[in-house]
Amino acid sequence: MIPRWVAAVAAVGALLVVLPLAAMAARVNWADFWTLITSESSVAALLLSLRTSAVSTLLCLVVGVPLALVLARARFAGIDLLRSLVLVPLVLPPVVGGIALLYTFGRRGLLGESLELAGIQIAFSTAAVVLAQTFVALPFLVISLEGAIRTAGTRYDVVAATLGARPTTVLFRVTLPLVWPGLLSGTVLSFARCLGEFGATITFAGSLQGVTRTLPLEIYLQRETDPDAAVALSFVLVAVAVLVIGLTRRSRSAL
């Protein structure tokens, strides 16, 4: 039973999200759509976005899974503070994240100078895009995985250990398979967040076609001169996001 007024407010909420998307779709210049989205700069931006988002998501998994595990299971002084700090990018304006990254990995940043001495230059490179995306997307993975690990508890891990499985074996054969739905949704959220990342990238990584100019940056730039192209690319971005989330939901319900 859903009270009628709840349904009404829910409809308003849904409209709030759907209406702008529909309004944008209505503005798409369908006659030139294909030409607009297959221009050299558009394709370069889309490919760069997909590539960097994939790498960033992988990076999120590599560092985020251990982080989530530690936050869910380890007990040490300051863990609550650590959890709050790790989740900060969730509420931080991405541009602030970009500034923070700049002061860390920039040429004159905390680590940047040493990195430059070692011959590694992050500023203005695709690596900078990946760092920016990972920075903003990591908490999405950590938060959903940490919750799943807590909910799953440690009973099965204990059984696995008494059966002779080493901690690493337990992690890969028991812990992670048991939190698979949480891991999957966290991964998808992270990927989607990477795909949409703008503020930190433009602040930290710069903007150069094929190197650092991802789809959101391309949209923002096209808006200056070619609003039609901006709208068409926005539509592509929405379509990719809907596709990714839809596929995940399907594979989750199949579990």
Binding site: V96, I99, T203, S207, L208, Q222
Partner: protein
């Protein structure tokens, strides 16, 4: 023009804006447009006439000063300033935003207003701006001329060709017969300046006014080819203004001696 010296309130603000980039730019814009409380200084609470001026972001400090003087000489008038990228302002005016005066950073955007016949009278050029090489203090990469930017060993940041300063950069490149390979093509001149201030870039192409506004955070290097890309700033009263006379008076103030003095002090050249 050599050996810039910079001081004063306005330049400090621009530096701050450069340091925190878009965020601060947004905050400044918000300051200038607070409805009701608006205006810059000495706004009489009894003000019964309000003039809304839309101006390109690069005009922030100069127009604040001009508006202040305008209010001082016009009793009961409150000037509300709205600063943003010229193309954003045009889009807002086209959507019916209640602006009385529009000052653009380039003729292209003013042309859009003219095409839609939204102006009152003919737009008048009131200032011009040229490009300058900005380098971090001490010029670590040892840039000496425009040609020095063409090498791969210099981290050059420019504006994207889609935005006015980028278009100017392309013209300069052509005139000098050079091909730059920038590490980044930024969205706005503020972003370029910011990359130079933070030392991420060895050099950037920005406007003379930006270099002057940045104080000692950057050093400016002039180059003769800048003459081939003079950016002209036009201003016009708008047709839908509820205060057409006042709007025209503000335009006159910008074009007048005091307005030109303020603009000149900030590094703008005559049109």
């Amino acid at each position: 023009m050599t050996g810039y010296t910079h001081r004063g309130r306005a330049s400090a603000r621009i530096v701050a804006a450069g340091a925190v980039g878009l965020l601060a730019a947004g905050a400044l814009t918000a300051c200038g447009t607070g409805p009701g409380t608006g205006g810059t200084a000495d706004a009489d609470d009894a003000a019964d006439r309000t003039l809304t001026v839309y101006a390109a972001a690069s005009l922030t400090s100069t127009f604040e000063q001009i508006a202040e003087e305008f209010e001082a000489t016009h009793d009961g008038v409150d000037v509300e300033l709205s600063f943003a990228g010229s193309s954003d302002l045009v889009a807002q005016i086209q959507q019916g935003a209640p602006a009385d005066v529009f000052a653009s950073a380039d003729t292209a955007n003013m042309d859009k207003i003219v095409t839609d016949d939204l102006q009152a009278g003919t737009p008048t050029d009131f200032a011009s701006n040229t490009l300058m090489i900005a380098v971090p203090p001490g010029n670590p990469a040892g840039v000496a001329s425009l040609a020095g930017l063409a090498g791969d060993d210099v981290h050059l940041v420019v504006c994207a060709p889609e935005v006015p300063c980028g278009a100017a950069t392309e013209r300069v490149e052509e005139a000098a017969g050079l091909t730059f390979s920038p590490v980044s093509e930024e969205q706005s001149v503020t972003d370029v300046l910011n990359k130079v201030i933070t030392g991420e870039a060895d050099a950037g192409l920005v406007y003379v006014t930006d270099v002057r506004g940045a104080g000692d955070k950057v050093e400016g290097i002039e180059f003769p080819e800048s003459e081939s890309a003079v950016n002209v700033y036009p201003i016009a009263a708008l047709e839908r203004s509820a205060e057409p006379e006042l709007a025209q008076e503000f335009v006159d103030a910008v074009l007048g001696q005091e307005g030109q003095q303020v603009l000149g002090d900030a590094g703008f050249a005559a049109p």
